[in-house]
């Protein structure tokens, strides 16, 4: 095995890891603020992909142009979902919360199939197709752009949470919604915001992913397990944790697949994940319970 | 030898030392108060004795047996019972079942546990709630239930953290009576408390902590006249 292949694989691992990170950030965000695990997160991703696809195929708008649009649409969708459904389960037991989002997951898949048929779609020849040589490595341009996008979005979310007033309010709501209301913070607005941002992150990931991944109603299923692992590994609710864990998982998956055999790549990630939790039950960067 | 011997116990959280070389003892069947300003390390000490923290240094012995560093359930089996600041009731159970769960430490037989539990409910004057869901009891009733539950493991010593906070003076008096009744059954009590009216009149001994260090120990009389205690805690 040559160094070149190792480096090349490492680079690919980092790039796919960034996408995992982006999907996971939305998930961890919703969890952090509301303590709800969103099983439908992969479907948000799917919606982001379809939105990009339809804008591309109906209006010939390039995915790079429509990315902000997709992000806004998913943001609105997340808020709407909160207002229609999630708002009713804020105080429900964890189990019924899990099953509400689980139901939403199945529902969105069904609706996607109903509206758009189960066909596999994809976007060809977008502005970012092709690949580039960088430092002697061959990297897919869509992947590269997606990776950069993931870094930018993560940075924005991180900045928002840690440097803005609204971010502080979001964190306050996350830790005690009643106390937050006593500070004059509208907790429903904050929750809706969390769902909005969470969905928007998934939407961004979907928009970026659509340039190089097939689009179909069940596509979320491929990503959700890894997203869960990433969120868990990073620590539920930790945005920076999800970011680093995403990259870690991407790299481990790809390198592990290369060195130990691709059929075991998921197993390697899962074993690593369980091993980390043995020593840090709260995840790599999670706060102690 | 004393029932509970705390020797040179220290507990550090990262750089912060919450307890520093604290030693004291509790004799069987006595009431000992643990007081001190906020952040003095009382709750920390309490948690070390009850097994919720592992002391960074020092030893804790109950009846000559080392219990320092044992997990909470092992401490409970050794004879240390405790209450929590928030009542931590088993909300899916009735009052009686709450106490039965504790009584089962001594025998797994459900019928026998029920008999024992009814006894402790009567002791805490809660018989009428026996078959009511514990969640429906008021906060102060739940606190009393927690005492009954703690006693049901028939401990040698009962640890209570601020059980009298938020009680008005006449309620404090009732609580004091309960403590005395417990002591009269031969169970020692170690009480962390800021409500001095609740602890001073009944304590056989008071231990005062300040910034993690023991600054005084003695009868309530001695302690309340100790100048160090006055400046650090009681105020003038």
């Amino acid at each position: 095995m040559t160094t070149e292949i190792l480096l090349q694989t490492l680079a690919s691992g980092v790039l796919i890891g960034l996408i995992y990170a982006l999907v996971a950030i939305g998930l961890t965000m919703i969890f952090g603020v509301m303590d709800i695990v969103n099983f439908a997160h992969g479907e948000f991703l799917m919606l982001g992909m379809y939105s990009t696809f339809w804008l591309f195929s109906l209006y010939a708008l390039d995915p790079m142009i429509t990315l902000p649009l997709t992000v806004i649409m998913l943001f609105a969708f997340g808020m709407l979902l909160y207002k229609l459904v999630i708002v009713r389960i804020i105080n429900a037991p964890m189990l019924s919360q899990i099953f509400t989002t689980f139901g939403i997951m199945i529902l969105l898949r069904g609706v996607a199939q109903f509206l758009w048929k189960p066909d596999f779609r994809s976007i060809e020849n977008s502005a970012v197709s092709g690949s580039v040589k960088l430092l002697g490595l061959q990297l897919g341009r869509p992947q590269l752009v997606a990776g950069l996008g993931a870094i930018v979005v993560t940075g924005l979310v991180y900045f928002f949470l840690n440097r803005t007033r609204l971010g502080a309010a979001l964190e306050a709501t996350a830790s005690d919604k009643e106390a937050a209301r006593l500070m004059g913070i509208d907790s429903h607005k904050m929750f809706a915001l969390a769902w909005g941002i969470g969905a928007a992150c998934a939407g961004a990931a979907g928009g970026l992913l659509a340039t190089f991944f097939p689009i179909f109603p069940d596509v979320g299923a491929s990503f959700i397990l890894l997203a869960f692992v990433v969120v868990n590994l990073g620590g539920f609710g930790s945005v920076s944790g999800a970011f680093w864990a995403g990259i870690l998982v991407g790299v481990i998956e790809v390198m592990g697949g290369l060195l130990l055999g691709p059929q075991y790549k998921t197993a390697i990630v899962l074993v690593l994940f369980l091993a980390v939790l043995m020593f840090r039950p709260q995840g790599l960067m999670g706060k102690k319970a | 030898m004393s029932l509970l011997e705390v020797k040179q116990v220290s507990k550090r959280f990262g750089g912060l030392t919450a307890n520093q070389d604290v030693s004291f003892s509790v004799d069987a069947g006595t009431v000992v108060g643990l007081i001190g300003p906020n952040g003095a390390g009382k709750t920390t000490m309490f948690n070390c004795v009850a097994g919720y923290y592992v002391p960074s240094a020092g030893s804790i012995q109950l009846d000559g047996r080392n219990i320092g560093g044992l997990p909470p359930e092992a401490c409970a089996r050794a004879g240390v019972a405790r209450t929590f600041q928030v009542a931590r009731t088993f909300t899916s159970m009735t009052a009686c079942e709450n106490v039965m769960a504790a009584a089962m430490l001594l025998q797994h037989n459900v019928a026998k546990a029920r008999t024992a539990a009814m006894g402790w409910l009567a002791f805490a004057n809660l018989q009428r709630f026996a078959d009511k869901p514990a969640a429906s009891m008021t906060i102060s009733e739940q606190r009393r239930l927690a005492v009954a539950r703690a006693l049901a493991i028939e401990p040698k010593i009962l640890l209570m953290d601020e059980v009298m906070a938020g009680l008005n003076p006449s309620e404090v008096r009732e609580a004091v009576d309960v403590v005395l009744k417990i002591r009269d059954r031969g169970i020692a009590c170690l009480i962390v408390e800021h409500v001095l009216e609740g602890i001073m009149p009944i304590a056989d001994k008071i231990v005062v902590l300040d910034r993690g260090v023991k600054i005084a120990e003695g009868t309530p009389q001695q302690v309340s006249n100790d100048p160090a205690v006055l400046t650090a805690y009681l105020g003038d």
């Binding site: 690919s12 189960p118 069940d218 | -």
Partner: protein, 397 residues
């Protein structure tokens, strides 16, 4: 007028739904032809549109059911179709795992089960009395592929060189891998590396790097749709291109494969059981496909054409039985001897052996050129010559 109910069990929702939709269309077309005829396609059985003549023109009625790619659901649906819908026979179920459980219910109930498109070899190794399969299975397909390579060398002097395989790690990919391992030495192939991967994967980087490291001339590949598309994109991204990709149907023959990848799908060779360009030898193929296309705006695929054929064979057997008695239908199926000229498949015909396997079936190989599947093997059926090696990524127009 009498109605003959046939149960059809397919993945109409869930992971297999995309294929399920195509199969459903093929079944509807077949039923419509049987019941209402197909003027102008005289050679097709039932083209007169009089229903089943031996049953006084009884029409067939399809009872659709959805197994969601879940074996237990497949079994329940079979049970329901038999006892409640009182179907006289069952056709299904695409996914081999579901075919396994659903046919088991039919076997116990004594109802004929015809399987047009599941490829797991094990299905006909169960000594079932009521199970019939019209399609060739993986064993034959792997033989076909290796036979092709052998002939290629013999006739055109093209040596396969270093061979690697990339197969999904489910039932199908695993069986295929095993067969390839077993047969490669017999065909004196240098099978340097066998890579398996989970079909639901999000990336194939490590797989492709592993292949690349072996520096192969030929990749044997078995993938479903999403992963087939993903693999092609990854090949291109990482600049990997062997001289030949010899794929194993499924994802590579899905309508969406060419639609999605466009020129990046070019020159892939895939095993098939059907191709439009075979029409020159068998006019039925084009005629029926035109009918299909005018109705559903898609062409047949290997899957939908096989399903179409399956229902035709079943209808033929019921007709010959002249009865809806299960045993009579079973006997008719056993006695089936349909000539290739009555099929839309490039097969010699349909005739079942003792295990219920059609022995006259055959696979072909097609190569994608100009967005179409062109038959390249068997050489006597070939519509084009094999393009070898594949042009490099950057040398395509």
């Amino acid at each position: 007028q009498q109605e003959v109910k046939i149960g059809v069990i397919y993945p109409l929702t869930g992971p297999g739904a995309a294929v399920g939709a195509e199969l459903r269309s093929a079944l509807e077309l077949a039923a419509d032809i049987i019941n209402n005829g197909s003027p102008g396609i005289a050679d097709l059985p039932f083209s007169a549109g009089k229903g089943l003549p031996n049953l006084k023109g009884a029409k067939i009625k399809l009872v659709f059911s959805d197994h969601q790619a879940n074996p237990q659901t497949g079994a329940s649906e079979a049970e329901r179709l038999i006892t409640q819908e009182k179907v006289v026979a069952i056709v299904g179920a695409y996914n081999s795992a579901v075919t396994a459980t659903a046919s088991q219910v039919a076997e116990r109930a004594g109802v004929p089960f015809l399987n047009p498109e599941s490829s797991s070899a094990s299905l006909t190794q169960r000594n079932f009395k009521w199970f019939f399969r019209t399609t060739p299975h993986d064993d034959l397909f792997v033989h076909n592929a290796f036979e092709f390579l052998k002939e290629l060398e013999a006739k055109k002097g093209i040596k396969p060189g270093v061979v690697v395989s990339l197969n999904e790690n489910g039932l199908w990919g695993t069986e295929t891998t095993k067969l390839q391992t077993k047969l490669a030495p017999e065909y004196k192939l240098n099978l340097a590396k066998q890579v398996m991967y989970p079909a639901k994967t999000t990336q194939l980087t490590s797989e492709v790097q592993t292949l690349k490291a072996a520096n192969p001339n030929l990749v044997l590949q078995s993938s479903y749709t999403a992963d087939a598309i993903l693999s092609m994109k990854t090949y291109k991204e990482l600049g990997f291109l062997p001289d030949m990709i010899l794929a194993n149907n499924a994802g590579f023959t899905d309508t969406d494969f060419v639609k999605t990848l466009g020129k990046d799908a070019e020159y892939v060779i895939t095993r098939e059981v059907w191709a439009l360009d075979l029409a020159s030898r068998n006019p039925l193929i084009k005629q029926v496909n035109d009918l299909f296309n005018s109705r559903y705006k898609i062409n047949f695929t290997g899957n939908s054409s096989r399903t179409f054929t399956g229902l035709m064979v079943m209808a033929d057997a019921i007709n010959r039985a002249g009865s809806t008695e299960p045993e009579a239908i079973r006997k008719a199926l056993v006695a089936t001897d349909m000539p290739g000229s009555k099929l839309i498949m490039p097969w010699k015909g349909v005739k079942f052996d003792a295990t219920g396997q059609n022995v006259l079936g055959q696979g072909i190989l097609t190569q994608i050129v100009d967005g179409k599947y062109n038959t390249v093997w068997p050489f006597n059926l070939a519509a084009r010559d094999v393009v070898w090696p594949m042009p490099k990524w950057d040398q395509r127009k």
